[in-house]
């Protein structure tokens, strides 16, 4: 399991993450919600070891997290790919880099699960739609069967209908593959619909960490309440009689 224990990150004199502790079991989904500048991306970078922690540590099953080869799905699907390579080569990169072998059926199985059509992988990033590119991004993250997948605003570049569809596909694959998913998002609706737990990040601190169903029914902090109110006011969540 993923354990982030008492992690702090400093940039110069400012603390961008303060004493963060979270844990995440395989098969579970944790959504980290918060506004821009709250430290969401820094948290992802700290977990991946891309920024050094000034205190605390991040482990997967008591080992440094990098040894479990976590995967990342990025926000901007098109720019997440090398524009000169076919999508297939980009997708297979995690496998090549690690030198592992993936059985032949796995790519087809994942493609089917992500509704990626035959032939799409032979195109280049600029030749597919943003929604398609993001599904291929997810495929690349999952191809080498990582136990932990980090999603950095995976849906914010997509339109509303595609967002819900893609979220559905991610969730189905998680059921089959059993990876732990940490989703960073500003969209409480997405978090509420697909995460097991919601962590509210504000100014580098975790303000609230609650089971997703409980959160949208009764947030414990005023800030959590305002996030919920906003989600209803923007139609991400809806009350029905």
């Amino acid at each position: 399991m993923l354990e982030v224990s008492q992690v702090s990150v400093r940039r110069g004199s400012t603390v961008t993450l303060h004493d963060i502790s979270i844990s995440l079991e395989p098969g579970q989904t944790l959504a980290v919600v918060g506004e821009s500048g709250a430290g969401k991306s820094t948290l992802i970078n700290a977990i991946l070891g891309l920024v050094p922690c000034s205190a605390g540590q991040v482990t997967w099953d008591s080992l440094p997290v990098r040894q479990c080869w976590p995967a990342l799905v990025m926000q901007e699907p098109r720019s997440a790919f090398n524009p000169r390579l076919s999508l297939r080569r980009s997708v297979m990169e995690p496998v090549t880099v690690r030198g592992t072998v993936v059985d032949a059926g796995r790519l087809d199985r994942l493609c089917a699960g992500l509704e990626i059509a035959q032939g799409l992988l032979d195109r280049r990033p600029a030749e597919v739609s943003i929604g398609q590119a993001q599904r291929v991004g997810i495929l690349r993250a999952l191809i080498a069967a990582p136990p932990l997948v980090l999603f950095d605003e995976p849906l914010s570049a997509l339109d509303a209908v595609t967002q819900k569809h893609t979220a559905q596909l991610i969730s189905q694959l998680q059921g089959e593959e059993g990876f732990a998913a940490l989703i960073v998002t500003h969209d409480l609706g997405y978090a509420a619909a697909f995460a097991d737990e919601i962590a509210v990040l504000r100014a580098g601190r975790i303000e609230e960490l609650t089971a997703a169903q409980d959160f949208v029914q009764a947030p414990q902090t005023p800030y959590g309440q305002s996030l919920c109110d906003a989600a209803f006011a923007l139609g991400a969540l809806e009350r029905v009689a």
């Binding site: 506004e35 821009s36 500048g37 739609s129 943003i130 929604g131 997509l158 339109d159 509303a160 209908v161 595609t162 967002q163 819900k164 569809h165 500003h186 969209d187 409480l188 609706g189 997405y190 509420a192 619909a193 949208v216 029914q217 305002s226 996030l227 109110d229 906003a230 989600a231 006011a233 923007l234 139609g235 991400a236 969540l237 809806e238 009350r239 029905v240 009689a241």
Partner: protein, 227 residues
């Protein structure tokens, strides 16, 4: 007087992205223009603004992203004064202060250039600029996409009040039917460069006709919770 634009169309590199389309909007009306990405809704918005402006209708436009509205080499104050001049107004510091306070961006330094501000504040600055003059119609393209949800909800509430007070019509262009359904009285659905449905919001949500509209309706919220 109804604002009417007829025969709006657009062709880009040989491909028709907007088939000939007529749109009319009544004064004070709130209309949502909804569709998937690539359905031609922004293009229709642009064509509508250009046509109505040519007719002398006072239209203001808030583009989807502040990058499409602000020059990175010019200060915020420069943008503001330029917008005032374009409307034939003289600089009015109290009006500027009022609008900036209304949109809660008093914290921004007007002498800085856009990139000295956060994107959310840039977007609200653009909205404030759109409200400088007296308006017949405000067109907003995905106004919430550059804003954090709490700020976005706040800004939309504030605009609701502002537009009601001034009896201004409102066209909201968005991919998000959930957002539109809460803010507009009439929904226009676009698909593949054509308007495929145009109905009052309540009626539309109950009985969407086309496939595109049905899909939008089915996916308009993430979760529905009992009251």
């Amino acid at each position: 007087m109804i604002f009417t634009a007829t025969g709006l169309s657009a062709i880009r590199s040989g491909r028709t992205i907007l088939h000939p389309t007529d749109v009319d909007i009544r004064p004070c009306e709130r209309v949502g223009l909804v569709g998937a990405s690539g359905s031609g809704k922004s293009t229709l918005g642009h064509a509508l603004i250009d046509t109505l402006r040519a007719q002398g209708v006072r239209v203001a436009h808030v583009p989807q992203s502040p990058d499409e509205a602000l020059d990175p080499l010019r200060s915020m104050d420069f943008h503001w004064c330029e917008a005032e001049r374009a409307l034939g107004l003289t600089h009015d510091a109290s009006r500027q202060k009022k609008l900036i306070t209304t949109l809660r961006i008093e914290g921004g330094d007007l002498h800085k250039r856009p990139w000295g501000w956060s994107r959310g504040m840039q977007q609200r600055f653009v909205i404030a600029m759109a409200l400088i003059g007296t308006l017949d119609l405000l067109v907003m393209d995905e106004p919430t996409s550059a804003l954090d949800p709490v700020v976005a909800a706040d800004t939309m509430d504030l605009l609701d009040r502002y537009l009601t007070e001034r009896q201004t019509a409102f066209l909201l262009i968005t991919h998000d039917l959930g957002l539109a359904a809460r803010r507009v009285a009439r929904v226009i659905v676009m698909d593949d460069g054509r308007i495929v449905e145009d109905a009052p919001t309540e009626q539309f949500l109950l009985a969407p006709v086309t496939q595109a509209a049905k899909s939008l309706c089915a996916h308009r919220n993430w979760l529905e919770l009992p009251c």
